[in-house]
Symmetry: C2
DNA sequence: GTCTATAGAATGATAGAC
DNA sequence: GTCTATCATTCTATAGAC
């Protein structure tokens, strides 16, 4: 999706505010104030508040999609999985603020579950991350993986921790959970 | 804190709704409707919406406090830590719905950080969970622990997973993270 | 403990001028 | 692309009767 400069300004402001207050805690007035325009100007870029949230989610999942495609293209399965996990951790550390929103905001969770293309993508992602593992235990592992990543990256305890240390500890722990060598 | 029956009805309804919509996404009207009274009746029990959120948080942290005191009373440190982790996992599995609210709702996160007694308690809890570990790496481990627990328990992927399996996998993974035998 | 009624502010959203 | 002005609705919160 090609977006205008004005649209990108809205999305950036919305991301900031939503990361801090959640979707329900962020109003269009707050977004408008942050950019320095009126509500009407924001509504000219996106028809509804939901459209902003969808555009935001699409943009963030886009990074993950690139990583997923690279991993699926890798002929060696284990290598592909290793690649994906590494990239997911890197992305999560890089874009810390968005992680909590995507994983835990009740409005976004609802949206991911109801909006068809999102659900398909999430399934594909978890399948690739788990490799040959299947069944109930695999699902618990997948949930734990996503938990380790998201929380390790957003928790107040680690707010001032060096990116490199965070990345390393995360990767080590993830490898232990999914039993990859490392 | 001793609560009347009417107050408990408010807290139970609020917990349900907040687990589903978040704090900002839950209005006093929704709470009143769920109980079958008017807003004014709810306001008679709690002066503000924030007071409801605080009372809710206190009630849930109360369970953890009992577990923490039992662990601190244990003369053998490793045994105390083992006891605490086990109890925390049990509680999280039992009370799945509240976990996501306590850990990830932006309003509650703010409150836990600003409300003095809450911050003190959280520090005490993490210290006990980590045992002799200290420094940056310990903080990353603490964050990952809380992530594994909370997400493993609330993730859509595990919504229909048996409590016993969830508890076991969680405990095994946590032991690997904090390097406890088991 | 619950009600009706209301105040006052904020919400999402739209119409129409520039 | 942005503005002013406005609408209907919802929000938190309070006053006062039963």
């Amino acid at each position: 999706m090609r977006r205008s400069a004005a649209q990108l300004r809205v999305l950036d402001a919305a991301l900031d505010l939503i990361a801090e207050h959640g979707v329900s805690g962020t109003s269009l007035q707050m977004i408008a104030d942050r950019i320095g325009v009126t509500k009407a100007a924001v509504y000219h870029q996106f028809k509804t508040k939901e459209a902003i949230v969808i555009a935001l989610t699409e943009r963030e999942l886009g990074w993950l999609e690139e990583a997923l495609e690279a991993a699926e293209a890798e002929p060696n399965h284990t290598a592909g999985r290793e690649l994906l996990l590494t990239r997911v951790v890197e992305l999560a550390v890089e874009r810390r603020r968005m992680v909590s929103v995507l994983q835990f905001d009740p409005v976004i969770i609802r949206m991911l579950a109801q909006h068809e293309p999102f659900g398909v993508f999430i399934d594909r992602l978890y399948t690739a991350m788990l490799g040959e593992e299947t069944g109930d235990r695999a699902r618990v592992h997948a949930a734990m993986l996503s938990g380790v990543i998201s929380v390790a990256v957003m928790h107040p305890l680690v707010a001032d921790i060096d990116d490199a240390l965070l990345r390393n500890e995360l990767l080590r722990t993830m490898r232990r959970i999914v039993a990859l060598p490392g």
